[in-house]
């Protein structure tokens, strides 16, 4: 039973890699990029949310916001540890970048990411108060749920396992946002909510990246991704539209 096979064939047939020692170089690079995108997005998301804790209208809301900050930071830590096993300097990584940095609020939606971190583009835009934060958290949370479903079957087993722990917590954050929004609408904040939905919808939509990525076949063959950006985007549009409808809101035209 000592026969081996080409690692590319192994991956193409659904094989799993389990530690840095058996990971080919190009696979390592793609995996690191995926993990860095996750870590940077969680850190940037948590940093942005930390600023709105005090904007919460009541104790319950502030607890929810604080919990989101805590858990997103912890989610980042889980995956950063895996990057550490590949040689990343985890202490420095956590501090090498000002994660709360944002572009001006009126920056047009765009998919070009900041040159110095890998956060999803939507996290480059600043939150504008409590209502805005809750809306962003719902729309982005639904996007995160869709994106994480891709990683549950990642061919890098330790990453898939980390995501299995992370995904239910992220889902809970999205639920908190939906509950919060329901409350805000009941309090007559519908106009403000609609304004924020109009602001965030195109920005979250763009965070899925371009529909056709030349890398998607490579990533598929490596077992690191399964669906295209366009497929994930369409799934999000569907569930986000339904979520808004449930709240009595319409999705914006774009």
């Amino acid at each position: 039973m000592t026969d081996t096979m080409d690692i590319t064939d192994y991956l193409a047939q659904g094989g799993r890699l389990t530690n840095p020692a058996n990971v080919p170089t190009r696979y390592r690079a793609e995996l690191m990029k995926i993990m860095a995108t996750f870590v940077d997005s969680e850190l940037a998301g948590a940093a942005g949310f930390a600023d709105v804790i005090n904007a919460g209208p009541g104790i319950k809301e502030r607890i929810a916001a604080a919990r989101i900050v805590l858990e997103k930071t912890d989610n980042a830590d889980k995956v950063l540890k895996l990057m550490g096993e590949f040689g990343a300097n985890t202490d420095r990584y956590a501090n090498h970048h000002p994660w709360s940095d944002r572009l001006p609020r009126d920056t047009a939606p765009g998919t070009t990411r900041n040159a110095h971190d890998m956060r999803l583009s939507v996290l480059n835009y600043p939150l504008d108060g409590w209502v805005d934060a809750v809306v962003m958290n719902l729309l982005m949370g639904l996007a995160v749920d869709v994106q994480l479903s891709e990683f549950l079957t990642s061919s890098y087993q330790p990453f898939a396992e980390a995501i299995r722990e992370v995904a239910p917590r992220e889902q809970r954050h999205t639920e908190l946002a939906a509950e919060g929004l329901e409350k805000l609408i009941a309090q007559g904040e519908t106009d403000a909510v609609n304004q924020s939905v109009a602001y965030w919808w195109p920005r979250v939509s763009d965070s899925f990246g371009s529909g056709v990525s030349p890398r998607s076949d490579t990533l598929k063959a490596m077992g690191l991704r399964h669906k295209t950006n366009a497929e994930l985007h369409d799934t999000w549009v569907e569930i986000a539209t339904a979520a808004l409808k449930k709240l009595g809101l319409d999705r914006p035209a774009s």
Partner: protein, 355 residues
Amino acid sequence: MARFHQLSVTDVTKTIRDAVVVTLKPVNGGDFDFIQGQYLTFRQDFDGTEVRRSYSICAGKDDGVLQVGIKKVDGGAFSTWANESLKPGMTIEAMEPMGSFHTPIDPQQPKNYLGFAGGSGITPVLSIMKTVLRREPESTFTLVYANRGVNTIMFREDLEDLKNLYMGRLTVIHVLESDAQDIDLFTGRVDADKCKALFEHWIDIDSIDTTFICGPEPMMLGIAAALREHGLTDEQIKFELFASAQPGRLARRASSSASGAAAKSTEATITMDGSARSFTMDKDQSILDAALENALDAPYACKAGVCSTCKCKVLEGEVEMIANHALEDYEVAQGYVLSCQSYPLTDRVVVDYDQ
């Protein structure tokens, strides 16, 4: 960051002709309180070249020892050395235990485990088996153990002892490739078909909570396919694959023929995904930025020298790495650099992202 600690070798025992069980004791700290199924990464210098190899811990949590099993691989520098030269009293360097080939132990929760091991893939499975049988008094474990023949079965006697100790809770099925057995089913290779046959007659697959697979790639694929076909989810199927199956890389030092010319630009050749591209770049531009500017999809994340995503190897010429918070000395000695922090010094550089 990964750090190595000294361990003293207290015992080396042959388990079969070409495999040893090495017992270790930490000398100067490090947290070696492992989780069942984890592995240790060792480093050893061979004629000036550092070789790193990972081996699974084969001891159970309650054995009170730290033990790894090392099977000799043809042409493998480390495994040959461990089998032929390693003696009690010697010191060896290893990182703290790593790996996630395990599930949480819950003494209150009876579970049915199914393990598959091929050859030396038994080491982590043995550690898991010993630990769950001891710590989960209601759980059962079925082991399907594939080997070429009777004389290549590692830990054969230990498995017999465990069977007697945990009568009724541990089942061991030996499947031998070349030695005939009483039951035809137990002869041959463990592949998808063999698994199907086992699930029909010997293993109640519907009762299985968690499976552990450690062995050669084709074997793991066949088993996983059969398990998925029988309704097990990815969450229930735990793989462990080791580098020992992959050929060791030959470490070559980058030829550093520095030329004194003070040109401002450099002729760069960058290899990625198997193809090379050449272009002229400024010396005050990083290798990574130059690659990106020339439409190469070079990997990077932090651009601050901490994440190591942009790691590449300098094959020709010299570069200056202005910051390095991620690569270790031995990697730098082999010619690896962080391309986001590296600027050409020579008029020609050849860099490879594929190595």
